[in-house]
């Protein structure tokens, strides 16, 4: 199960999903992310340090979260993806849409 750790860094919402975002856990991620965004932050960083796996259901909720952030005047980007996750992001073209960064700090700077 994904337990959605998060923190606010320099005004950006940093979401740190753990283990997997698969078909069975994607909905919980989407709901948690939406509730956290409703509290006001407009910039979102997905810190993928602890994420081993993402399926197309996970990509869908990242896209949904990104659209929500963008409509609020912010944006979303991704940091610290491991190889498996990077590969899925590359096949889907999400690496180009959102950008991949080596650190959360770089990701936050990119959203500035």
């Amino acid at each position: 199960m994904t337990s959605l750790n998060h923190e606010i860094v320099n005004g950006a919402l940093v979401l740190k999903p753990s283990r997997r975002i698969d078909s069975s856990s994607a909905k919980a991620f989407e709901d948690d992310a939406a509730a956290l965004l409703d509290k006001g932050p407009k910039k979102v960083v997905i810190d993928a340090t602890d994420l081993d796996y993402i399926s197309s259901a996970g990509l869908r909720v990242i896209l949904t979260t990104a659209k929500k952030a963008k409509s609020a005047g912010g944006g979303l980007t991704i940091a610290c993806a491991k190889n498996n996750v990077k590969e899925v992001l590359a096949v889907s073209g999400f690496d180009n849409i959102f950008g991949l960064h080596d650190s959360v700090a770089q990701a936050i700077s990119a959203l500035a």
């Binding site: 997997r20 078909s23 069975s24 399926s55 197309s56 259901a57 990509l59 963008k70 096949v91 889907s92």
Partner: protein, 140 residues
């Protein structure tokens, strides 16, 4: 060492987590690098999710079976379901395109499956869709 697993799956998307957990344990017992097990699990996730979300949606008599084998340096599986005939290999997959506003994720699952598996075969027999899949296991 168990080199084959047979599973009967409920018609419920929560089963996907059990399949991936089982595959991780199976992979560890068979000396398969975790990344490779998860890669294979991703393809199963996408295919099982499609079956449950579309083929067997709302069906009380939905039957899904899965067998997984490790043989000759390959991870192999057969996934069977009694939904309407559907060949996922014939389904159109569009190359990903578009920006954040226009982007859709539909069809992406099958694109990932085709990208990650080395061999996929579909047949319809006795009222079941039967998909066999193979992935060469790469060293860590």
């Amino acid at each position: 060492m168990i080199s084959r697993i047979d599973m009967a799956l409920a018609n419920d998307v929560q089963e996907v987590a059990r399949v991936i957990d089982t595959l991780e344990e199976f992979g560890a017992a068979n000396g398969i690098p975790a990344e490779q097990s998860l890669r294979f699990g991703l393809a199963l996730d996408e295919l099982i999710t499609n079956i449950i979300s579309y083929g067997l949606a709302g069906r009380g008599d939905g039957t899904i079976t899965l067998s997984i084998e490790h043989r000759g340096g390959m991870l192999c599986a057969e996934l069977a379901d009694n939904g309407p005939a559907f060949d996922p290999l014939a389904a159109e997959t569009v190359p990903p395109s578009g920006d954040i506003e226009t982007r859709e994720v539909g069809g992406l699952g099958l694109t990932l499956v085709k990208s990650f598996m080395d061999r996929l075969d579909y047949r319809r027999a006795d009222g079941f869709n039967r998909l066999t899949m193979e992935m060469k296991v790469k060293a860590a």
